[in-house]
């Protein structure tokens, strides 16, 4: 622990040099850049920023901003409390629901067959003519294929199922499409990202692009990447969805927030997810 602090201090000294040399923001980014989950899933926690993100040169997973204790909890599935939710969702996956007598497994066989889903969502859905999040896709399966009642967008059941979809996709490189039919939604998301909200007049970019690594109260701001969602927040002792986190951020600007599941948040999710193109899927991650 002591040695880690010392390293960070030295990192800060070098960062100070970098500030003087290049004018980049002062940022205390954790020294630990290697995350291998269960000794086998190698994560990319640092990558060159995608071309469409002009404000960043390097993208970092939220994992690098956390303390060694929190980082450790994500490195092993037995230490990650969210894996209890994933276990529960595995059982649900096999359970027939609704009037059609079908389970998720009836079509998808195993959760592992959905391993590329998390890395490519939100995604344009031709049939519905809209960009869909993982939650919307789950809802579509339940209501249109299984004849079941939809889970609430941010319900515990939905967060668990979405955690399962993430868990089987861990290690896949995030690659969300932003062109073609998704482009206008992506542009709407970008617009929201750079719009200042609330009495504090803060945009997403003010904190997560211009000040990542800096302290907000006694906590390090991350880049606000969503590759670790749904994420197990120690503060909540439970899974938190992407839209719930968005809502919390806008609430903290003392602004009226968009609703969980709203078209605005879907657009923002697409845009923010695309800022992480090049990182790996980590959900369900562990964060403070």
């Amino acid at each position: 622990m002591a040695s880690f602090r010392k390293q960070k201090l030295w990192g800060a000294v070098f960062a100070a040099g970098a500030v003087a040399a290049t004018g980049v923001v002062w940022a205390d980014i954790g020294e630990n850049r290697s995350l291998i989950v269960n000794g086998e899933i190698e994560m990319i926690v640092e990558a060159p920023a995608p071309e469409h993100v002009e404000g960043l040169s390097t993208i970092y997973s939220g994992w690098v901003f956390r303390s060694p204790e929190t980082q450790m909890m994500q490195a092993d599935d037995f230490d990650n409390p969210a894996m209890l939710d994933v276990d529960t969702a595995r059982e649900t996956f096999e359970t027939a629901m609704g009037t059609e007598g079908q389970s998720c497994a009836s079509c998808h066989d195993t959760p592992e067959s959905l391993s590329t889903v998390r890395a490519t969502y939100p995604q344009w859905d031709e049939e519905h003519g809209e960009v869909q999040t993982v939650e919307m896709q789950i809802t579509e399966c339940m209501t249109e294929r299984m004849g079941a009642e939809a889970y609430g967008y941010d319900s515990a059941e939905m967060r668990r199922m979405s955690a399962l979809i993430s868990a089987v996709g861990r290690g896949e490189v995030v690659n969300v499409a932003i062109d073609g039919p998704a482009q206008s939604t992506w542009e709407q998301g970008q617009e929201i990202y750079y719009t200042r909200y609330g009495q504090l007049e803060l945009s997403c970019a003010n904190c997560h692009e211009q000040n990542y690594g800096n302290l907000i109260r006694a906590d390090h701001l991350s880049q606000g990447q969503v590759n670790g969602f749904p994420t197990y927040r120690l503060r909540n002792s439970g899974l938190v969805s992407i839209h719930n986190r968005f809502r919390g951020c806008i609430r903290d600007t003392r602004g009226e927030t968009f609703a969980v599941g709203s078209p605005e948040f879907v657009a923002l999710e697409l845009y923010v997810a695309s800022r992480g193109n090049g990182l790996t899927v980590e959900g369900p991650a562990v964060r403070n």
């Binding site: 037995f78 409390p81 209890l84 939710d85 276990d87 529960t88 002792s237 439970g238």
Partner: protein, 109 residues
């Protein structure tokens, strides 16, 4: 709390006689501390797992008394001494009287 309680245990399946093996266990439980208030200002009653035990072939490995300061989803890691093949029995005792049990076999050569 009896609904949806899932326990996970991890102990080795094989060991040699006289070996010390590491055992880990995790159970999902809110561990309501009795210190929090709801939106109306009323104290939410305490509801925790208050005891956890691990036995190996009927011999006690560890017997833990939990207080409300134990985090949600109680987690324990400890060591057991195995001299023969047998069964680990894990038992969690809930304030509400429920008892949750898990077992894990180990072959000792």
């Amino acid at each position: 709390m009896a609904d949806g309680v899932t326990a996970r245990v991890r102990a080795p399946r094989e060991a040699s006689a006289g070996e010390v093996v590491s055992v880990r266990c995790l159970i999902n439980h809110t561990m309501e501390s009795g210190q929090r208030r709801d939106d109306d200002g009323n104290v939410i009653p305490r509801s925790i797992i208050n005891r956890f035990t691990c036995d190996f072939n009927g011999q006690n490995v560890i017997d833990v008394a939990l207080e409300p300061a134990i985090s949600t989803n109680p987690y324990f890691q400890f060591d057991a001494l195995v001299n023969e093949s047998g069964t680990f029995n894990f038992t969690w005792y809930d304030d509400d009287g429920d008892v949750y049990e898990e077992a894990s076999e180990i072959t000792v050569s």
